[in-house]
Amino acid sequence: MTSRDWSQHPPYICPDYKSSVLRGPTRPLLNLASLYQQQPGSAGELLGKLTDVYQTRSIDCDLTKNGPPGGEPIGERIIVGGRVMDDRGRAVAGALVEIWQANASGRYLHRADQHHAPLDPNFIGAGRAITDRDGYYRFYTIKPGSYPWANHVNAWRPQHIHFSVLGATLATRLVTQMYFPGDPLLDLDPIFQAVPAAARINLIAQFDLGLSQADFALGYYFDIVLGGPRETPADTPG
């Protein structure tokens, strides 16, 4: 049994997502955890600790302020926050959460993005945070715009924020995208649609008035649930 619950994750080859056809592995994966069973207790690679390794500054999680000084970025200010936990519901403290995104016009700072939409001189579109002792993280940012891409004719990516998470161990590693509720592009997006239908809801942030700050920013709540090494029967509590 492996750390990833494949009923929740997209397959490697998704014909509607054109790039995946030549880039996804075609052969079955080899189960490393079961190979380690030959020598129990030897899996330093799988059990080595990756939380509480990095540090961030408070400005790092504020994408409305961590760009070039001199002004605020254009767009709808939002708060994105949530909890990182494992798939037993336990908080993951000290996890590194990194995000990147397009600006309000749907343009990335990245040089490869040549979409005909303006760059924002006050916005980079990158941030990072470390989860607190209860597993919570919080970002201030601008709601990203949708943008066109070359997958098919008149293809547009839904509004999204990219997330990269480094949890307690190697197997928890996750890269994903957070989407916004009610986005009409979600039904048309092959990357989002590649996720098994019942699992897609977990990628959509929830509008949260409690997380919103009056007269300042709307709040969106996004929990992140990581896989991890399977416990041996001896480790299971109770």
Partner: protein, 189 residues
């Protein structure tokens, strides 16, 4: 006994082509600092790891990201003052190589050869892919390695990095093939 429902894992999505502005910013000259770079420091023999990532048509990717995770020179994880994690893109060099400067990991045990865990991310990859790098000059240790021994014979070569005398010193070349006859062996962990 807790009665809370077990939460479902958050699904993976592709890293996409624009990660460099956030994840490898300094390497690619974006105005954001990098918290994880392509070097691992510590006592031991300095080595370089280089390679390219090829798609199913043999084209080298200019938008891949590689992460490595390794033990220290004594084969130990979780050591004070040693961080065995590093990250590198394939788009910042004209030759589309990823390049790491690290120290050669020690063997983790008598039946384990030195190895480095490698993770591949890129546009078109819906979930990141795990693999392992073994060293060509450790043939005897590789043959005794209890994981390596269990791998299918025809897939073993895809995990061997070849040592050469590179511009910066001892360099191990580790090309990754996502598909095709030379498809790299990928793991589920």
């Amino acid at each position: 006994m807790p009665s809370k429902p077990i939460p479902s894992q958050t699904p993976s999505q592709t890293i996409g082509p624009f990660f460099a502005q956030g994840l490898t910013a300094a390497q690619s000259d974006y105005p954001f600092d990098s918290i994880i770079d392509n070097t691992i420091s510590g006592p031991g023999q300095v080595v370089h790891i280089q390679g390219r990532v090829f798609d199913g048509e043999g084209k080298a990717a200019d938008d891949a990201m590689i992460e490595i995770w390794q033990a220290d020179c004594n084969g130990q994880y979780d050591q004070e003052n040693f961080c065995g994690y590093a990250r590198c893109g394939t788009g910042y060099r004209d030759d589309l190589h990823f390049s790491f400067k690290t120290i050669k990991p020690g063997s983790c045990g008598v039946d384990q050869a030195p190895y480095i865990t490698v993770i591949v991310f890129m546009r078109g990859l819906m979930t990141h892919a795990f693999t392992r790098l073994y060293f060509d000059d450790e043939a005897e240790a590789n043959a005794r390695d209890f994981i390596f021994q269990q791998l299918p014979e025809d897939r073993k070569t895809s995990l061997i990095a070849m040592g050469i005398e590179g511009e910066e010193g001892l360099t191990y070349v580790f090309d990754i093939h996502m598909q095709g006859a030379d498809e790299t062996l990928f793991f589920d962990i």
